[in-house]
Symmetry: C3
Subunit: 348 residues, 3 copies
């Protein structure tokens, strides 16, 4: 990060309740209370870190309006705000907008754009991009260097397609969608049928539809449907290295963590959370609001709102009880042996 | 999809037994019986969906020659064919050939091709491709935009290397091989040895050999051998995000699903199925025709033809029995406690 | 591989104790004792393969100085050396340097380099590379074709960034770092917060710091920090398809195998080994020298030096004992039933 701002510049862009102490340091980093150095801005949000304020080396610390504790050290400011986490997010957004500026509208001269593609004048097309025939790129969209947009694919307003992303033919990407580097959307589904000792490909003639405000992680793969569409619902966020099989339908505002694998034709409701490395069989349904814990294996339909763990996945409370009992297997074994011995003694 | 055909056009390209009813709708989609709308073609293949025909909204339905059930609705055709699934596959192949046309032979002017590379006049080389020294690209091969072909690598006839694929130096790719976007074939194997507190690299001087008719998924990685070759046998299909370690040898007509990881020097026979997220240790052998269930961990040799589950992997019937018994652990625990109590009572 | 050398050429570059037999074959491959063909160089390193020397078809075999066993066959040489594995590594390094030559310094005319970027005259920039504003590429670094270097990112001396790699803005890469094809370093961390039924992005304004001598595998993703830095320590080696979350800090000389997933803010000490498909929760610490077995799930802090297995992860000896007892669950169940029967009989 190459940011630098004075205490005064900082306080000009946030709502402060009051300020105690002061600093002449320029602020050039953000850090937690325990790791901050002079020149950093730190923050107290979770009350359990209250005691760390006293020893914090930051030049400035965001504290809650009702903070009562150690006062500022020499050349250190305590900035009292209503909600430090919101203030911090606000500051971070300003820094992000400065450091990761949206590239300007326009097309790099090296880009290979099919004459039949429609690129809005307000879109940015980076170096070495390939834009296929009849593709449409809307206003404000950014196609970063080396990305590929397939035939007749559409990219909605203000969407950000990062470097090396491959958007397959006929894919429909909504507005404000963010696809991270090297993700692959709309490649062939994995559909085969064994015929007389060889494996024949089942044609995959559907597409992928990604609704507004979706984020798709780096190297994540979303396969196109056998026919009709693989769908990712509005506002859903998908982490890196996730596999979404053909014909999956994912609802709105789901969170899907890294290395999750979802086999074909599985349906996920709204507000579902899948933790890291979860696997889901094909052709099952996960109800709205369900949560699946890390590394779980889901092989049948999941009701709404439940939290599951383990493989095969079971309710979290049962899973936790079974973990405890599994650890007591040696004790169970010796109890059984002891009982058998008592009975044998008794039978004599 | 932007396809559209009339009932008459459809019936001209398939073998029909008879047609009942008719439709004036243009057909522009394919859907299952329960989701089809007017304008769709639906199909009855699995008898268990027989009852769905009556309420199906599709404009045309493929039904088996011996279908007896609800007749066609208003403006709906029932098309009787010998085997609806075959007819559907035939129709899909025709649609695929229309919508995903093979690009014509020729080289995009932007491609960077080493003068010593041999590119057949019947091959297609897309924009921003890099073709290394002494590489050979055969007739009918398609190297899509932004792909990289390493030094002395060979790509066989009619193979399709998609956008962003990296084919490492000395890799040999057979005929009709399909490599999906952003896959990496022939990168360095993960071979290291700890020496005096640091980790030294073991040179990886082998290559990768991919036989005919293989499919390799998006973002899948096949590492080159330490020496000799990592091999993928004829007709094997590998899904997305799979890791194949150095010196692995995979037989013919295997199916390897998403997120599988295979450590180095493991050998897989012919007709092996590895379900999603399976992990295999290095230096083991999996016999012909074996099936490994999802998320299983294989740490020793697997005999021919068996089906394994769980980690460490065990025969599927045993695994299923153990799952049931695991769920009865609370019952086992309380039975043991109850027995102990009875014995204690008795001992008084 | 297209290498070829005579027995004499080989012996000129290695230290031999003595040579028995001879061969007129040119050597053009390296293979294990049991798979070697004429024209290959084989080697006896592990004593358990001693008996394979007698039937080995290689034209030359490296054997230990104290080897006593079957003599060389017709047209075959036995080359006695102090330590065959070291000699082999030495030979492989020479072959590697020949077959995978470092590309010469210079910039391909197609590369898109921002005028404010500083590219050392001794660096290599391949075709279709994008180098962002204020980026710095040091002497001896190689940026292979189609790679992207973000704004203000730095690449250290002699580092090798392979094709299709995406190095995000502000990333700092040390010296002699090797990043394999299509890896993504410095993309957005997966940080979100649910607010009133939608999911809001938490800005990710940190970066990634990669110390010297690190290797990062193909399609591996290392996310940039929310603020401050995600760090990979000196000499650590990461395999393919690994997910490193934002704000993770990894120590020196770790080995991280394929398909490992590490959630955000987790800290790993030095000399830690994570086997394939391991998952780690966020915000935990793994002590120096710990080893986590394949597919394990780590959900709490791990002490120094321990070896863990299973999910949730437990000490390896306990895990192995529990595996054995799990396999005896059917026996435990029938013992309990038998005891209950005896007690019931007794109660009559």
């Amino acid at each position: 990060m190459s940011i630098s701002f004075s205490l005064e510049q900082l306080c000009n862009v946030i709502d402060t309740v009051k300020i105690e102490g002061s600093t002449t340091d320029m602020l050039s980093g953000i850090a937690s209370l325990d790791t901050a150095k002079p020149g950093d801005l730190a923050f107290l949000d979770n009350p359990k870190y209250h005691a760390q304020v006293a020893d914090c080396k930051a030049s400035a610390i965001l504290v809650p309006a009702d903070y009562k504790g150690a006062g500022p050290a020499e050349n250190q400011a305590h900035i009292f705000v209503e909600k430090p986490s919101y203030t911090l997010a606000h500051i971070c957004k300003q820094i992000e907008a400065t450091l990761w500026q949206k590239p300007p509208a326009g097309t790099h001269p090296s880009a290979a754009i099919d004459p039949s593609a429609q690129v809005d004048a307000g879109a940015h097309i980076g170096a070495f991009c390939s834009i296929g025939a009849r593709a449409k790129i809307a206003k404000g969209a950014v196609i970063a260097s080396g990305a590929t947009i397939g035939i007749a694919a559409t990219i909605g307003e203000d969407s950000f397609i990062e470097s090396g992303v491959r958007i397959g033919a006929y894919t429909q990407v909504g507005a404000r969608v963010h696809v991270l580097p090297n993700a692959v959307i709309g490649a062939d589904g994995f559909g085969f049928v064994p015929v007389n000792g060889v494996i024949e490909k089942i044609p995959q003639i559907g597409n992928v539809i990604i609704e507004d405000d979706v984020e798709i992680g780096a190297c994540t793969c979303v396969d196109r449907a056998r026919f009709s569409s693989t769908k990712i619902g509005k506002g859903t966020k998908i982490d890196n290295l996730v596999q979404i099989g053909h014909n999956c339908v994912i609802g709105k505002y789901c969170m899907i963590c890294g290395l999750v694998g979802m086999a074909g034709s599985t349906t996920i409701g709204d507000y579902v959370t899948l933790a890291g490395q979860v696997g889901l069989s094909g052709h099952i349904k996960v109800g709205n609001g369900a949560t699946i814990g890390a590394q779980a294996g889901v092989i049948e339909n999941v009701p709404e709102g439940v939290t599951l763990l383990d493989a095969p996945a079971i309710p979290v409370n049962l899973a936790k009880r079974l973990v405890i009992l599994k650890l007591r297997l040696p004790e169970m074994w010796s109890k059984i042996k002891s009982i058998e011995k008592q009975l044998a003694e008794h039978a004599k």
